[in-house]
Structure formats: C-alpha cells, structure tokens
C-alpha cells in the first residue's frame, strides 16, 4: 500500500436512540463495510470500482459513496480522480446506517489521501450529501457517529453543529434486523407534522435525561430516558412483532428498546455484554416464533468511527 491508496473500515450506526429522534446516534463495533480508495491521474472525478458483498449502482452520481466523494472533491483543489472499491457488508435499508457507512468511509478515506484538508465537521457535511441520495433528506445522525465514533449529538443540521457525548464504558447494543423492506423515505412520510406540546416536553425531558445518564454513567437514568413518545408509536406499527420484541428485551434486562434509525432494525441497549447476549437469546426466541427471517448482532460501542482497515 502506498500514499495513493487506503483501505478503511466504516462502522454501522444506530441513529435516533428513541427520544433522540434526528439528533443522536452511536457507532457499532465490528459491524461495517470495508472500502479501498485509490487516487489516479488517469481521469478526473470519481469512479466506482469493484463492488462486492451487495449490488450497488456503479454510476458515481447514483452511488452514495460516489455522491459523497464528488461533494468533497468539488470543495477541494484536487483535479485528479479516485477509484472507490466497496465491500458492502451492511445491507441497504436495514436501518443501521448502511448508506452513512458508505458515505462516511468515502469522505474519510479521500480526506486522508488528500492530506487531511477538511475538518471532521466538513466531512460530515459531504457525507450528508450521500445520505440525501439514499433517504431523500440530508440527515447527520448516522454519518456523525460513523465519522466521530462513540455517541454523537447533532445539535443542529443547518448550520451543522455536531459534538461527541461521553460513552459509558459498559454500554452494549443488540440489533435485530427483520428481513423485510422498509424505505427511510416511506418511514418519514407517515410522521405527523404537528405534535402535542406536552409530548414535546416529555421528549426533550428524556433527551436531557439520556445525555445526563451518558455523562454520569447512570444506567438507571439511561433506561428511564430511552422512551420515544412521538415517532415510535407510529413507526413501530410497520415492524412486525415490535411490542413482543420490546417486552422480551426488557424482560431479559435491557435498559431500553426501540427502532434503529427509521427501521426495520430494532435495538436494545444493555449494561455489559452478558446482558446483551441474554437479550439476543430472548429476541431470537421471540422472532423465531413469528417465522420472519432476521439477522441479529451484539456489539460494543465503537470509540472510533471510520478508521484504517488492517489488511491480512
């Protein structure tokens, strides 16, 4: 490997975290895509090279990584080309930041190859353009943790204001992905444009509690705050068995349970990996009864976002 190419690992992410709709997200450990980027002088702009793992569009303007890379190049002085190979492991449409990983991996890798001309906040901005292609709206709650690692707060999208929140050491996640299709753009359409003030107050009280719980490592407070009284009551109707899964997760000791991103994946947060494994067993048992195929992962919270991928 030389300075003209780089291999990166781009983590899957859980966005929203229940009450933190559109503002909170966290990076998962061990689940993610690998990408290889190579600079070249033989053309200008972006080319999508080899794609493995899943089918993805090869036209850069229709590819999330391509669009994010194009946005970065447009703001840079670089006039050459870049080839992006993608080994896609996170299924598009799963609700654990598949498009965000592609976008974040592309801009992080390209920024490294160009000598780090851009700040992380700027990279988040470029990656959001890739996100917009995938979901129809430029949101940052997946790309921010994918780039920053840990737990990220998107205080504001316009102007972009993103900060890291302290990650309690023992925090673990269990993510179940029902193999059904649920488009982010559809999941957004069913939301109401007006909400009752008293539910808004309840939601921002929970956001305050969740962030306080993260900083003080108060797992009880984190659990009490993991409530979404606005979006989840509507969106959960699109996820078969949601209430049974929640019941099973909480019974098994989860701090809280909710929809990952805009679904269909669901997630539980736990204190420690042992309880996460117990939650995993309980969710498997519950969902096997329903006869819907699914994938399930247990993961710590990744302290780093996109990073160099060590190759064998």
């Amino acid at each position: 490997m030389n300075a003209h190419e780089i291999s990166v690992f781009a983590p899957a992410t859980i966005a929203n975290l229940s009450c933190g709709f559109d503002i909170l997200g966290l990076a998962l450990e061990g689940i993610g895509d690998t990408m290889r980027l190579e600079l070249t002088n033989s053309f200008s702009g972006v080319q999508i090279g080899t794609v493995t793992g899943m089918d993805l569009p090869k036209t850069p303007e229709k590819n999330v990584a391509g669009v994010a890379a194009i946005a970065l190049l447009a703001a840079s002085n670089y006039t050459g080309g870049v080839i992006i190979d993608i080994d896609k492991r996170i299924k598009p449409g799963s609700g654990i930041g598949s498009s965000a990983a592609s976008a974040a991996g592309a801009v992080w890798g390209l920024n490294a190859l160009l000598g780090h001309p851009f700040s992380t906040t700027e990279l988040i901005g470029f990656a959001m353009e890739g996100e917009a292609l995938a979901s129809g709206a430029a949101h940052a709650d997946n790309v921010a943790p994918a780039l920053l690692g840990g737990i990220a707060l998107v205080r504001s999208t316009r102007p972009l204001d993103v900060v890291r929140v302290h990650t309690p050491e023992s925090l673990h996640a269990c993510v179940l992905h029902p193999q059904i299709e649920l488009k982010t753009s559809d999941a957004r359409k069913i939301l109401k444009t007006q909400i009752p003030l008293h539910l808004g107050i309840r939601q921002w009280g929970n956001v305050g509690g969740l962030i306080t719980g993260f900083f003080t490592e108060d797992y009880g407070l984190i659990g009490r705050s993991l409530e979404d009284c606005i979006v989840e009551p509507i969106r959960s109707l699109l996820i078969p068995g949601f209430d049974m899964l929640r019941e099973a997760a909480l019974q098994a000791g989860a701090l809280g349970f909710g929809i990952s991103g805009s679904g269909p994946s669901v997630y539980a947060l736990t204190r420690g990996s042992e309880i996460a494994e117990r939650v995993r067993e309980a969710l498997i048992k519950t969902y096997t009864q329903l006869g819907i195929p699914f994938e399930i992962h247990v993961s710590g919270i990744s302290p780093s976002g996109v990073r160099n991928h060590k190759q064998d």
Copy 2:
C-alpha cells in the same frame, strides 16, 4: 436556637433556561428568602407566623409555604404543629421562583426539624403542591433547583424524576425584573397546544447541546444551545423591550438570553462575573430608555439549594 426551630435561606431560581422549557432550572446565589420554622405542641398543623418583606396570605391553605408544609405533614407521623415565619425578599410574580422558594424552604426546614424522614425527591413532590397553588400547575423546574442547588433537570414530573446536571464553574447569571405584572397562569394560556415536529426536533437538539455543554464546560456550545424556538417567540411578546434587551445582552458578551420562568424577568448567562457585570450595565442602559421601572441582579450559580441560614 434549639432543635425545635430552624432558620433557612431559600434561593431564587431561573426555570426553563430557554430550550429547557419545563425541564431545566438553576439556583441563584445571594437572592432568596429567609424563613424560620418552629415546632410546637400547642396545636396541630401549620400556622403562618410573622410575614415581612411582602404581603402574603396568612391562611395556611392559601399560602404557598403553608400548602407545601401541609403536604409534608400529611405524609409524616408528626401530629404537632409548626409555625412558619417568612421574610419574603423575592417578589411574587417576578419569574425567578418566588413561590418555589417559599415552598422549598418550608419543606426543607420542616424535614430537618422532623429528623429528615423524607428524601429530596419527596420534598420536591411536597413543594410542587405549593407551586400548584401559585401557578395552577404542579411544575418542578423551580422547586427542583431550589432544593438540589446547581442546575437541575426534571426528566419527568409523573413519576417525578429529577437529577442534577454538572454546573460549569464560571457560569454566571444576570436577571432583570421589569416591574410589570404577568401571571404564570396567563403566560401558560397563550401557549399553543400543538407544535411543528421540526421545531420540536430543533428544541430537543438544543436541550442535548445545552446539557452536553454543561457537562463538558463548553461555553460556546452552551451559548449556541440557549435557543427556544417554541415558547419564547410567543411569550416574549408580553415583555416590553425583549428584543432590545436580548440584542444588548449578546452584544455585551452574554452566552445567551431568554425569559426566566414564565417571565416577566429575563436572564442572561455569561462566562464569568466580569461579563455578567458588563451585561448588567448594557441591560440597565437599554431599559432606562424605555422608562419602565426594573430590578436587576448579577449572581453566580448556587451549588447548594435551601440551606441553614446563619443569623447575625
């Protein structure tokens, strides 16, 4: 003084803190009421004794301190009486927690005299009954910081869930109280019962940013987060000169500016006492032009809530 009587200092408080409508509050230093409570066997229940400073109802059931004390006694085993003397320094209706100070002082003092049978959370619950008398709604964002000190978060009112948030060391407040009447119950009536979802998201993003800023002592983030896009645009219309005051405070270096509680007091937060003094000068200059009488205070954030009052 013996174990049958106690003198307490009950601090003024700023509730809401802009984006933290109904969920955040902080305790001020040096501004507050003093109260003297004395147990007696000569009668049962609560008697309001000497009232100085302001006129207050002497009937316990119509007096905020009386109602809070009655609520505590009803939950206790104590069958005797208590006399409460009040030296009222915080003007009722000022918006800096006048009724909360009375209620918090009464229950804190009474709890101490009875040998601390109740937790702070229980005391907040009793004090909220006093608050309900004053404002028509049992809210906790003044009584919580009045009892806990520092910055308090009310995650939920039912069930009551209150935690302390870290207070950045240099945080100061400047509070201006225009001498106009504005009832809490009226200030609540003009609020809309429905809010746009996108403004809700902006508000809870700001709550997340504000609490993160408090924990990380990131004053820039605190400043950017001190925005209320829901309540302030409506309520500020009831406060003459609000926009001019905000402009003056921010020009003088305030981190943020908003309505204290339900008004009419307004507050600015600053980094350090020097800037707080500069903000004070700027607000005085602005408000003197309007010809409305006012009071103004600069204060640190009190690390403790209601406490023993040292008598001369």
